[in-house]
């Protein structure tokens, strides 16, 4: 089958369309605009076309020579005797897959938002910002230069900031938004430093050039490792990896569809994408790659433990996201691009579905608190069905999508980093446990809330249903090795042999066992109550306390570092120096000034024309005398 290759103007249009939607909607922004339906149609229309174009791009890349389309754009900066930075587009299997993920999830989320945000007075601003985010995210994916990647990287950070703080009258939302921007910016400083190092060493920031063996071999190993670590610091910030994970749970203050799109499926995955984008560079710096693996594996377990005890459904999902991103990092570091990106691909669908499900539950019950839910499977059956499918997929249970990608990570980790494989297996168990804890607490037992639960409207259910399809089936794309072949070099084989054959592998049985054990534990505790959760809580009270207090990380950052060490420490010391030491020194001059001030003041009563003339003449005279006399 031959498909006409996509014209380059349409490749540009993929990210320019949402940008245009933003530009079209944003001038209209008013705080209380009333009805603003057209805004959502503009925004959804733009991303819809982008989605179609992304599929076309995907098909075109398959046929392109070297599976690569490079479009040269304009020079953003070109200094004579200095750097030249071209803003162009780089389309390869990696960016093509990412384009499809982002546009499809964005489309579904935006349709869902039409109902979810329906009664919000700032409906218009919402759609403007979602469009801005989508444009920046797509730009990040397709840019061919690390500098423009960085620019879009920060712009997605800005849209994330604006959307977390969407309800800006709520102090908690604004604080969370600020925290998100600042913590990710710590990572961005690393990213920026890496750009400086790479440019200084190679004279370019072009991604293809930087990844070429010739350029990489020109950089000495130590410098390359530092550059890779700088890039990874940026990735850690965006992808919420330990110790820069603290912003992501708080980011749940934003509207739930935003959490689904930005803080689950797409933006947070940008860190994984960056490592994938610069994979040859990371490969040339094996120490850095080891760090990626360790940080990923550690974050996976670390975040999962906190997910076990959260009482807010969105917080559980947020910690789950951090944990899953950790597995992606581990996968990419041990198994290569396709392992990490395949995980990212599957995760995007089932995790955004879980969030949309949480939003639907919230619509039904008016709360995100697990303690005020229960027994909802009869009241909101569709939401229940979709949520459970996504939960099974997340748990990595055959034959749903999550199983296949988890397989890849576990196999790669076992091969390269056996210790970290243990972390990944433990994470599998914990994941299944916490997500089924949520399923059982929300949908089973008796309803504990006071709200009259009702199923959500079709506008919300249809996108969820459409996301449920890939949440179940996206993993099958690699049953025949097709995904691996597309992103890497693997050979393809028969679909059924991969689909069924995957189970024959002992590793698969291990991971399946871990997942089922997790589900069973949750079942024991929350359905059958053979053991009371409270008893477990008491028995494990010290770890429980550590998990609920988030290992004291928030306390460390907000109180110990920001408030005490900096604000009341270093900054106050600087302020004191400024007022007392430097201010005092200039007060010495000031005592001299009182005299001069008095003299100047005396002149102030006269005609101003006189001052001007006197001043100018006086100054000139002083200068002339000085010059003539020497």
């Amino acid at each position: 089958m031959h498909i006409m290759s996509i014209p380059s103007a349409l490749i540009w249009a993929v990210w320019l369309l949402p940008l245009g939607a933003f530009a079209l909607i944003s001038p209209l922004i008013r705080p209380f605009p009333g009805k603003a339906e057209p805004a959502s149609f503009i925004s959804i229309g733009a991303v819809g076309i982008s989605f179609a174009l992304s599929l076309w791009i995907l098909a075109s890349v398959l046929q392109a020579p070297d599976r690569q389309i490079i479009l040269h754009g304009a020079d953003w900066l070109s200094i004579s005797g200095g750097p030249v930075f071209n803003f162009g587009l780089l389309i390869d299997p990696l960016s093509a897959v990412m384009l499809s993920v982002v546009t499809s999830v964005s489309l579904m989320v935006q349709v869902y938002s039409r109902a979810y945000m329906h009664s919000d007075p700032s409906y218009l601003r919402y759609f403007a910002l979602i469009s801005l985010f989508t444009a920046a995210m797509l730009g990040l994916i397709v840019s061919s230069n690390l500098l423009s990647t960085f620019a879009f990287w920060e712009l997605v950070g800005l849209s994330s900031y604006l959307l977390i703080g969407f309800w800006f009258h709520r102090p908690s939302a604004v604080a969370a938004a600020k925290k998100a921007f600042l913590v990710t910016r710590i990572g961005d400083v690393g990213f920026l430093a890496a750009l400086l190092v790479l440019y200084t060493k190679t004279g370019t920031l072009d991604i293809t050039a930087l990844n070429s063996p010739g350029v990489l071999s020109a950089i000495s190993g130590g410098v390359l490792t530092w550059a890779a670590l700088g890039l990874f610091l940026g990735a850690m910030g965006k992808s919420g990896q330990f110790p820069l994970h603290v912003w992501l749970p708080d980011a749940m203050e934003g509207p739930t569809p935003v959490s689904a799109l930005i803080h689950a499926a797409t933006m947070v995955a940008a860190g994984v994408f960056l490592v994938a984008r610069m994979y040859p560079l990371f490969q040339a710096a094996p120490h850095a790659l080891t760090v990626v693996a360790i940080v990923g594996a550690f974050s996976a377990v670390f975040a999962a433990t906190m997910g076990l005890v959260m009482k807010d459904i969105k917080r559980v999902l947020a910690y789950s996201t951090i944990s899953q991103l950790g597995l992606m990092m581990l996968g990419i570091a041990t198994g290569g691009v396709w392992v990490g990106i395949f995980y990212l691909f599957n995760h995007a669908f089932f995790k955004s579905l879980l969030f949309l499900g949480a939003g639907s539950v919230n619509h039904a019950t008016g709360t995100f608190d697990l303690r005020e839910m229960g027994g909802l499977r009869k009241k909101i059956p569709w939401t229940f069905a979709f949520f459970v499918l996504a939960a099974v997929s997340l748990s990595g249970i055959w034959p749903l999508a999550g199983f296949f990608s988890k397989e890849g990570v576990l196999a790669a980790a076992l091969d390269k980093q056996p210790v970290l494989f243990g972390f990944a297996l433990l994470t599998t168990f914990l994941t299944a446990f916490y997500i089924f804890r949520v399923v059982f607490l929300v949908f089973f037992g008796d309803y504990r809330g006071s709200h009259g639960p009702h199923e959500s409207s079709r506008i919300m259910l249809v996108p969820m249903g459409l996301l449920a399809v890939p949440a179940v089936a996206s993993g099958w794309l690699n049953a025949n090795g097709g995904f691996e072949h597309f992103l890497g070099d693997g050979a393809t084989h028969g679909f059924w042999s991969g689909f069924i054959g995957a189970l024959a592998h002992p590793l698969a049985l291990f991971s399946l066992l871990a997942a089922l054990l997790g589900v069973f534990s949750a079942y024991t505790l929350y359905i059958k109550r053979w053991i009371s959760p409270d008893k477990v809580k008491w028995f494990l009270r010290s770890p429980y306390a550590i998990f609920t207090r988030k290992y004291g990380m928030d306390e460390l950052y907000e109180n110990i570092i920001a408030r005490n060490a900096l604000y009341r420490g270093v900054f106050q010391a600087a302020d004191w120096t400024d007022r007392v030491v430097i201010g005092g020194a200039s007060a010495g001059i000031a005592s001299l000034t009182t005299g001069a001030g008095r003299v100047l003041r005396r002149f102030q009563t006269g005609q101003i024309q006189l001052y001007a003339v006197a001043a100018v003449l006086g100054m000139t005279a002083i200068v002339l005398i000085a010059l003539v006399r020497g």
Partner: protein, 494 residues
Amino acid sequence: MNSHLLSLIIFLPLAGALLIGTYPRIPAGVVKYAALAFTLSVLALSVILLFRFDRQANGMQFQEIYSWIPALAAYYRLGIDGISLPLVALTSLLSVVAVLMSWKVENRTREFFIWLLVLESSVLGVFCALDLLLFFIFWEVEVVPVYFLISIWGSGDRRHSATKYVLFTLLGSALMLAGIVSLYYSTGSLDMVAIAGSGAAIAQTLLPAVPIFFLLLAGFAVKLPVVPFHSWQPDAYTDAPAAVTVMLAGSLAKMGGYGMIRLCVSIFPEVARRYAPIMLALAVIGIIYGAAIAFRQTNLKRLIAYSSISHMGFVLLGIFALSQTSLVGASLQMVSHGLITALLFCTASIIMDTTGENDIRRLGGLARQMPSTATFFMLAGLGALGLPSTSGFAAEFTTFLGSYSSSEVAGIKVFVLVALLGVLLAAAYVLWTIQRVLFGPVLPVFNDSRDADMRQKTYCGLFVILIFFVGLYPMAVVSIVQNSTAGVIKLLGG
């Protein structure tokens, strides 16, 4: 090729001042229109300059040379290159805005606008003068209008702040004068370009090069300001009337950076290279120190003043990194900071005027009551924290890149990596300020606050357009600057 464009630009505002001054019966309502007309004409001429400027050429353009004091070999010598042209344009733009911001001045209106116009003339003179004596006179004249503008129309402890400003400036310029005199006796010339061109040929008659370099630097360091010579700055910025703060921060501070490039680095490249590590250390200290203190401020204007110290540190960094790219970065940063700081002070003054409150701790929730002002303030803040697509990013990134990759100064990489923290700190204090002033629950006390009116929206909107224009298309400025900075680098023998 004598065109009189530069003379016209410099002296039009002064002519306006004289006109207003000599006809005392002009009603106040007309005075402001007259001032607007004069500043707008200057702006129009600057735009003509921008278009007629030959971006491919090297050296000075639009030169005017007349013999002035033959006994001293002093000439009335004007000219601009790519380094001064953006600053001329910036100054004429900010002057128009300063007039518009002062639309409601009711106390001694005539005098106010007279001083504002005199101020514009003197600053433009500094950027256009190519004769040391002429340069110095313009430099000195500027002090007078600023003194009166702060001490009469200012707020807070305005007399003290005005006097402090005058004393610091005069102290700096006295040293600078000594430098100029020494330079004159060493070279027998007052021609800035010629002296720079024959840099190595300076006879060691009066003083060795090093002290002359530092004497000249003193005046510029106070103006920029370089920490620790900055203590006049927060007081002056805080107590000056808003329009004057915009001029001081947006335009006058650049006289310091400009002077350093034009005189210190161009005339004494060897000395500049030798002492660059010290200057870079001061730059980095300024970046971090200014940002750190900004966190502790409770007065909105004072906070912006300290952030300004931090941002001018990037200019110093770019200048003394002594590479083509870093100098371009420093020039970009001067333009960018001029626009961003001006917008910050404009919006801050709108907020403070309508709420009658300048204490950040008592402000809050204004995004609901004054959405347009809030949007402008946020956009300015995003520029200040160096968000890509704003001029702040273009300037800071170019400066960082040019400095980090500079081969002129040993150990510069460490300085740059520390300076990167300034970007993180800027994000923190900007977003924290936005959080405290604009967001949070609506406060009923501010229910009567009026949002920006059409006049204010016009100039704020203009700044926003320019900030994003330069950010998205930095070549608009770079193409003007790059040949001239390359000329400076050539003097370094690089």
